[in-house]
Symmetry: C2
Subunit: 497 residues, 2 copies
C-alpha cells in the first residue's frame, strides 16, 4: 500500500537532480569559462547516471505496477502523477543501456564533425556519421514504440510532446503546406506595394538593449526575484520554476531580434514559473510537453508583443532607451519591421509566415529518414526539392540547406513539429482567452498583462500535467486543435482589410 | 583484491557531487535571485544526502578495511589516497544521523536569530540557542574524538586542518600573544610619528575597480579561461580546480580593501587550480587543509602584493585605472595605506599586525566553550577581558564584540586558528621560496609571478594531500612551523631599520 508515496520520493530525487542539471546547463552556456568544459561534462554525466540508476532500479517498475493496481485509492492529481511517472519511465528505462551508450558516443562524434562540416558546407563527408546516428535513433524509437503502441517516429515525437501522433500532425501540416505558398505570395506582393519599412539605424549599446529588455520583460510579468536575464550564444529559457534563467544575445547593429527573443523566452519563463507549486519535483508538476511550451513563448511573442497595440506601448520606451527619434521610430514603422515577411534559407531567421514551411520540410524529411523511406545520402536532394516546393527557393549550399540545424546531428528527431504546432496552439489559446476575457487586448495595449497571464496561469500553467495534452487544450479553448484560428490570425495580421 | 579501485569509484562520485555543490554555492552567493533560496536549499540538501548515503554505505567501511589490509600493493599516492579516504570517512560517517539532523536544525535556527541579534546587539536573547549549538557541536567533537584519538575540540579543528593539535597551536599562540601587544605599541608610535597617509579620494567606479582587479589578478597568474571574478556580499573563492570562481565586493568610496580582497582570493584560486590533475575527484587530490589554503591566499596578499615592490608596480596601473594623480597616488603613499596599523573591534577589518589578536581571542574562547571551561552566558565578559588584554580595547556593544562573526552561531568551531596559522605558514613558505629562488622578489617587482607561483605549484599545490601537513611543510621549507619567520616579516615590514 506504500507504493505510491515511495514512488513520489524516488521521482522527487530524480527531478531535483534534473533541476540541478538545469542550473549547470545554464551556467555552461552563460557563465562557465571555456577551460572548464571537460570537468563540467564529468559533472553532468554523473548527475545523469545517478538519475538513470534511480529510474532503472528494479524496484521502481515493481512499484509502478503495484501503484497502478491500487490507483483507485489515489486522488485525481495523484493518478495523473502516476500516469506521468509511467510515461517518464517508458522513455528513460525502456532503452537498453548499451544503446544509450552507443547513442551518446555517436551523437558526440557527429555533432563535433557537424560543426566543421557546416563551415565547409560538406555534407558527403559527414553522411556516414549521420547515417549511424539515424540508425541508432531508429532503434531507440523502436525500443519505445512497443510500450507506447505507436510507430518508431511517433515514439520519438512522444518524448518531446506526449501523445502527439501522425494522425494529428499530417492533416494539419498538409493543409498548411497547401495554404502557405499562395498566402505568402499575396503577403509579399502586398508588402512590396507598401514599400520597405524605414531602417532602424544603430548602433545600439548592449547596456541600453539589456535595460530595455528588462523593462519590457517586467511589463509582461517576469518576476526579477525569481529569475535572471543573461547572455549566451544560443538564447534559451532554463533554470527551475522558482529560478527562471533566460538568456539572449545582443547585436549592436540590430536590436529588434534580440528584444523579441527576450520576450519569446519570457513566455517560456511565465509557463515555468506558473507550474503547480504543490507538485514541484513531481512528473505531474512538469510542463505539458514542448508544443505547449512553445505555445506559451509564441503566444507572448507573436500574439501579444508583435501586435500593433503592444508596439504602440513599446515605441516610446524603445525611443527613450536608444535616444532615437524620427519617422523610423514610430509605432507604425516598428510594426512594419516586426511583421516583415521575406522567404529565406535559414529557419532561425524566418518570419512568422515562412517559419512553418521550414518546419514542415524538416518534419517530412525526418519522418522519412526514421521510417526508412529516405536514405541519408538522398537527404540533400530531398531538401532542395522541399525548399523549392514550399518556399520557392534553392539554397546555394548545404550550409544554408540541410546542415543548418544542429538537431539531427545531435540525435534529436521528432522535435521540429512542435515549433509550428506551438504556433497553431498559441493562436487558438489567444483567441479563446480574448473571447473569455475581452479586457485582455486593452490590457496589453496599456501594459497590463495581468488579464492575459492570469488566464494562462489558470488554464495552462497551473494544470501542469494534470490532463492529457488534448484534454488540456479542450478545457482551455472548448475544442480540439483547429488550424482555422492560426489562419485567421495570419490573415488579420498580414492581409488585413 | 578490488577494494581499492572500488573505493576510488565511490569517492569519485562523492567528490564530484561536492564539486556540483560548490558550483551551486557560488551561484547562490553571486547569481541567484532572492526568491529561489528555498528551492536551492532543497537542491543542496539532496546533494548532501546523496553524498552522505554514499559515504555511509555499509560496504564502504568494509572496503576501507580490506584496502588497508592490502595497502602494501598500492603505490605511495594510492596509499596516501586511502589514508585520506579514511580521514574523510571518520569526519562524515562517525557522527550519528540523528546528531547531524539536530545540528542542521539548531544551526539554522541559531544563525537566523543571530542575524537579528547582531543588529540589535542582543546577546542574552540568543544565548540559549547558542548554548544548544555548543552542546551539539561538543557531541559531534566527542563522536569523532575517539576515532581520531584526540580531544573533542581537536576533533573539530581536525575537520578543517587535519592533524593539527593543541600541542602545536598553544605554544605558538602564547608566544604571539606575548609578543604582539608590545610590538603593536611600537608600530603605532612609529606610524604616528610619520603622520597619516594621504587620503585616496574617490569615488571609484565599480567598472574601473573590476578592470583593475582583473588586470592585477592576471599579473599574479589567474587564468581567465579557468575561472571568473564576480560580486557577492561575502567574498570567497569557490568552484573547482578547472573552474575557479572568485567573488569580491566593491565600495565606490574606497578601493583598497576590495582590490586586496581580489588578490587574496587569487591566492586561494592558484592553489585550487594547481592541485594534482591526475587525482581530480580523489581525496588525495584535495587541498591540504584550511591552514594551507589560507597560507596561499596570505602569501599572495600579505607577502607579495602588500610589499613595497609590488605596489611600485601597481601604482601606475592604479593611477591609470582611476584617472588619478598627485602625491596621494605614489607607491610610497599607497604602501603606507596598505600597511597602516590601527587596533579596532572588528576582525574582518583588522590589519596584518592586529589580526592575530582577534584570532587568538576566539581560539581561546571556543576551546573553553567546547571543553566546558566557559559557559555561553559568560562569553560576553570573557570577550571584553580578552580584547582588553590583547588589544587594549573595550567594545562598546556585543555587535562589535562577540556577535560580530557568524562562525559559532552557524556551528563552526575550530576554524579560527587557521587564519593566523596560515599567516605564519605563509611567512615561512615565502622566506623559503626566496631562499631557494632569489629571482622571486625581482619577478614580483617586474610583474613576473612565474618564479613564485612555479615554486608554490611545485612544493605545495601539486602535492595535494600526498604528504601529511607536517611533512608537506618540512619538504617545502626544511623545517617545522616556526614563528620566527613571521616575527621577522612583521619586524621588517612594520619596524624597519
Amino acid at each position: 500500500m506504500n507504493a505510491y508515496p515511495d514512488l513520489e520520493q524516488r521521482f522527487r530525487r530524480m527531478l531535483m537532480l534534473q533541476s540541478v542539471e538545469e542550473m549547470l546547463d545554464w551556467d555552461s552556456s552563460a557563465m562557465m569559462p571555456s577551460g572548464a568544459a571537460a570537468s563540467r561534462a564529468d559533472q553532468m554525466a554523473l548527475l545523469r547516471v545517478l538519475r538513470h540508476e534511480l529510474m532503472c532500479a528494479p524496484e521502481l517498475v515493481e512499484l509502478l505496477g503495484e501503484a497502478e493496481a491500487q490507483s483507485d485509492s489515489l486522488d485525481p492529481w495523484q493518478q495523473a502523477n502516476l500516469r506521468e511517472m509511467r510515461h517518464q519511465w517508458i522513455h528513460s528505462a525502456s532503452v537498453p543501456g548499451k544503446l544509450v551508450d552507443a547513442m551518446s558516443r555517436a551523437t558526440s562524434a557527429c555533432e563535433a564533425r557537424w560543426r566543421e562540416a557546416r563551415k565547409e558546407s560538406d555534407f558527403d563527408g559527414m553522411a556516414p556519421l549521420l547515417a549511424q546516428v539515424v540508425e541508432l535513433v531508429r532503434q531507440v524509437g523502436e525500443a519505445r514504440a512497443e510500450l507506447l503502441e505507436c510507430t518508431p517516429y511517433e515514439a520519438l515525437v512522444d518524448e518531446h510532446q506526449p501523445q502527439l501522433r501522425l494522425a494529428e500532425i499530417d492533416p494539419l501540416f498538409d493543409e498548411l503546406a497547401t495554404f502557405l505558398p499562395g498566402f505568402l505570395e499575396r503577403v509579399v506582393e502586398s508588402q512590396a506595394a507598401a514599400g520597405e519599412p524605414l531602417d532602424l539605424t544603430g548602433p545600439f549599446s548592449v547596456e541600453a538593449q539589456r535595460a530595455l529588455g528588462m523593462r519590457l520583460m517586467q511589463i509582461v510579468g517576469f518576476e526579477l526575484d525569481h529569475g535572471r536575464l543573461d547572455v549566451s550564444a544560443h538564447p534559451f529559457c532554463g533554470g527551475t520554476p522558482d529560478d527562471v534563467r533566460i538568456t539572449t544575445r545582443y547585436d549592436e547593429a540590430h536590436f529588434t531580434g534580440g528584444l523579441m527573443g527576450v520576450l519569446h523566452e519570457t513566455g517560456h519563463a511565465l509557463y515555468q514559473r506558473g507550474l503547480p507549486e504543490a507538485w514541484r519535483y513531481q512528473p505531474v508538476g512538469e510542463p505539458r510537453g514542448i508544443t505547449f511550451h512553445e505555445s506559451q513563448s509564441l503566444l507572448i511573442e507573436m500574439q501579444a508583443c508583435r501586435s500593433r497595440p503592444f508596439l504602440e506601448l513599446a515605441a516610446p520606451l524603445i525611443r527613450e532607451a536608444f535616444g532615437c527619434d524620427g519617422p523610423a521610430w514610430t509605432a507604425d514603422n516598428l510594426y512594419r519591421c516586426y511583421t516583415r515577411v521575406k522567404p529565406g534559407f535559414i529557419r532561425v531567421e524566418a518570419d512568422e509566415v515562412t517559419y512553418p514551411a521550414h518546419v514542415i520540410l524538416r518534419y517530412r524529411l525526418e519522418k522519412a529518414l526514421i521510417g526508412g523511406a529516405l536514405e541519408v545520402s538522398d537527404l540533400p536532394d530531398a531538401w532542395q526539392d522541399g525548399m523549392k516546393q514550399l518556399l520557392g527557393l534553392t539554397p546555394p549550399d548545404h550550409a544554408r540547406g540541410c546542415l543548418q540545424d544542429i538537431h539531427w546531428f545531435f540525435g534529436i528527431f521528432g522535435y521540429f513539429p512542435s515549433y509550428t504546432l506551438g504556433a497553431v496552439t498559441a493562436a487558438q489559446l489567444y483567441r479563446s482567452a480574448v473571447a473569455q476575457n475581452p479586457a485582455i487586448p486593452s490590457g496589453i495595449a496599456s501594459g497590463d498583462f495581468v488579464p492575459l497571464v492570469g488566464w494562462l496561469r489558470d488554464k495552462i500553467h497551473r494544470a501542469g500535467c494534470r490532463w492529457s495534452p488534448t484534454e488540456l487544450l479542450e478545457r482551455a479553448t472548448g475544442g480540439p486543435l483547429d488550424i482555422a484560428h492560426y489562419k485567421a490570425h495570419l490573415h488579420e495580421r498580414y492581409l488585413p482589410g
